[in-house]
Amino acid sequence: MESSTEEKVVAVILVGGPTKGTRFRPLSLNIPKPLFPIAGQPMVHHPISACKRIPNLAQVYLVGFYEEREFALYVSAISNELKVPVRYLREDKPHGSAGGLYHFRNLIMEDNPSHIFLLNCDVCCSFPLPEMLEAHRKYGGIGTLLVIKVSPESASQFGELVADPVTNELLHYTEKPETFVSDRINCGVYVFTPEIFTAIRDVSSQRNDTATLRRVSSYEALQPATRIPADFVRLDQDILSPLAGKKQLYTYETMDFWEQIKSPGMSLRCSELYLSQFRLTSPHILASGDGTKSAIVIGDVYIHPSAKVHPTAKIGPNVSISANARVGPGVRLISCIILDDVEIMENAVVTNAIVGWKSSIGRWSRVQAEGVYNSKLGVTILGDSVAVEDEVVVTSSIVLPNKTLNVSVQDEIIL
């Protein structure tokens, strides 16, 4: 079936807001999480540049409840760079994952799109969007979800679903179940036809009638408004679950990588995944060197053109160095993210860590962790402007911005 040249596609990326995502602290204390750099680019850049591969993409909307000025600069820069119109839409209050889409439906439908992509900005995957769109057209439903198979143990952290193996129809969906339902989970990437807006509107109006059996903590139960406001609509519980099994929703399975970037440690893991993806799609972005004119580079490494790395340093694997960072002689960097304006002095070692903007790492100092991405102190995090003095060892710790460490620390959170 050929797609008509008139058929436009709009993409909506949910970016959240400041009171959500406290799990990403301390990195989110001074920058909105969607703008935190992963593999050398702001987190939200990766889904946006994936959208560029969609044929007939008319517009990308970022929807969230951060202040407009936090995204203003980024949005105009990325529109120019990728030659795709990107616009930030601010929700006056959280409307839920489907409510946000519904709230801006008039704007979204302005271009008369035939299809609307909805992506979560903290999802890290290969974003097979054109393939999803093609599959969706064949299925003929109102929506298609990207799904992936995970280990049965980890599945309960996500939305588990059951799909028909022949028709790929979504048969059953449940969010974070206590008992095992399925090892296929919802990736947080969807494509819809405009009928989705009708479905969301119907949910809002039906809300008062349906009794939902839901576990509620005593704290929530005592809230005066246990009834969720009519315009707060969650995609998973309110749309996907009820519509499953009605030949409206379908699934598209990805065999590539998939992660959620919820904690600072995961941003290091996702940086690794994207860097290895660059190796396949755009290897010229990655750094190389053998120690003669430039530093020895091992594995996948990104170095911003303005960063200065001494030729006697050894970098990688899985290292990302941002703008204007300075890496001194004899420095060893393994599995880390070095943010803008950081200075790393002679012979220091940084491994399994994220070093915040403008921080300085002293001579012979060592910043390290075990590299367990999902555990609280599994990756050492230094906030903005942290100074680690010479010969100090920082192990499995989190240090908030503007601190100076003049003694070694281990397994600590330093406010």
Partner: protein, 361 residues
């Protein structure tokens, strides 16, 4: 007369409170910390206060406009572009501090809370005729601080000894100075320490005198000292203006309650409690040795001791909060939860117990 308040930097020791407001604006006894000092200065005739800051001037300046109008005192900021130490900021603010009248000017450290006997200090300064006066306070463990060695009768300072290993004296620098304008000629415009460079010079020339601070003194730059400081402050308030304290059948010891706060039935409040504007304390609540900041709500039957409840936070029904728990702004502790020394960053919900001291991000 003029005054300089050294506000300095990031207030990291008072986190998580200072993640929401710069330290001078963090409330102490229901008033922003810096307002205590500005009011004391105004009371002795200071007409202009300069704040030496290097962090978040925009937030500060907004508040200051309010204070300026209410107190009828001029407040300006002197912004350090790089940390200038404890003396450098004086040189930086030179033009604002010298008005040609030859009068001495005050310098206060913003972390300090005390009774501010500034009038007595002015008298002391005139009497000895030296170039500089400094308040000192007696402490139990002088070797944690910088000790001021002085002649007992005249107060003339001989020298400063930083963290002495052997006993040389028990008076330490209380962070309140009264200086003649000529002192500014001795301070270069660079990062300088007033204790290590400026004062030793003046002491050597026999020009530095120390007055022992009457009444209480506390450096409230960190949470446990903040709580102790509140006790000392309320004690002093009991002696000087007991009418400001709240009384009643449900009150024990020294308790300060803002007039816009509401307290329910069957509560027992105190000792050493401050309840800020707009707070709601529901019935059956026990509060002791704690601060409840503006807009916070303590629900029925809860029990809070030795803790700080941040702005607009809630403590759930039957919750027990104790042992230096610090809740940042907008933190909500669920019903029946127990926290023992939890330090919680702003905008969090606590739905499970914190059994031992822990930082919750």
């Amino acid at each position: 007369m003029k005054a300089l308040i050294l506000v300095g930097g990031f207030g990291t020791r008072l986190r998580p409170l200072t993640l929401s407001f710069p330290k001078p604006l963090v409330d102490f006894a229901n008033k922003p910390m810096i307002l205590h000092q500005i009011e004391a200065l105004k009371a002795v005739g200071v007409d202009e206060v300069v704040l030496a800051i290097n962090y978040q001037p925009e937030v500060m300046l907004n508040f200051l406009k309010d204070f300026e109008a209410k107190l009828e005192i001029k407040i300006t900021c002197s912004q350090e572009t790089e940390p200038m130490g404890t003396a450098g900021p004086l040189a930086l603010a030179r033009d604002k501090l010298i008005d040609g009248s030859g009068e001495p000017f005050f310098v206060l450290n913003s972390d300090v809370i005390s009774e501010y006997p500034l009038r007595e200090m002015i008298e002391f300064h005139k009497a000895h005729g030296g170039e500089a006066s400094i308040m000192v306070t007696k402490v139990d463990e002088p070797s944690k601080y910088g000790v001021v060695v002085m002649e007992e009768t005249t107060g003339k300072v001989e020298k400063f000894v930083e963290k002495p290993k052997l006993y040389v004296g028990n008076k330490i620098n209380a962070g309140i100075y009264l200086l003649n304008p000529s002192v500014l000629d001795k301070i270069e415009l660079r990062p300088t320490s007033i204790e290590k460079e400026t004062f030793p010079k003046i002491a050597a020339a026999q020009g530095l005198y120390a007055m022992v601070l009457p009444g209480f003194w506390m450096d409230i730059g960190q949470p446990k000292d903040y709580i102790t400081g509140l006790r000392l402050y309320l004690d002093s308030l009991r002696k000087k203006s007991p009418a400001k304290l709240t009384t009643g059948a449900h009150i024990v010891g020294n308790v300060l309650v803002d007039e816009t706060a509401k307290i329910g039935e069957g509560c027992l409040i105190g000792p050493d409690v401050a309840i800020g504007p707009g707070c709601v304390v529901e019935s059956g609540v026990r509060l002791s040795r704690c601060t409840v900041m503006r807009g916070a709500r303590i629900k029925k039957h809860a029990c809070v001791s030795s803790s700080i409840i941040g702005w607009h936070s809630t403590v759930g029904q039957w919750a027990r909060i104790e042992n230096m728990t610090i809740l940042g702004e907008d933190v909500h502790v669920g019903d029946e939860i127990y926290t023992n020394g939890g330090v919680v960053l702003p905008h969090k919900e606590i739905k499970s117990n914190i059994l031992k001291p822990e930082i919750v991000m």
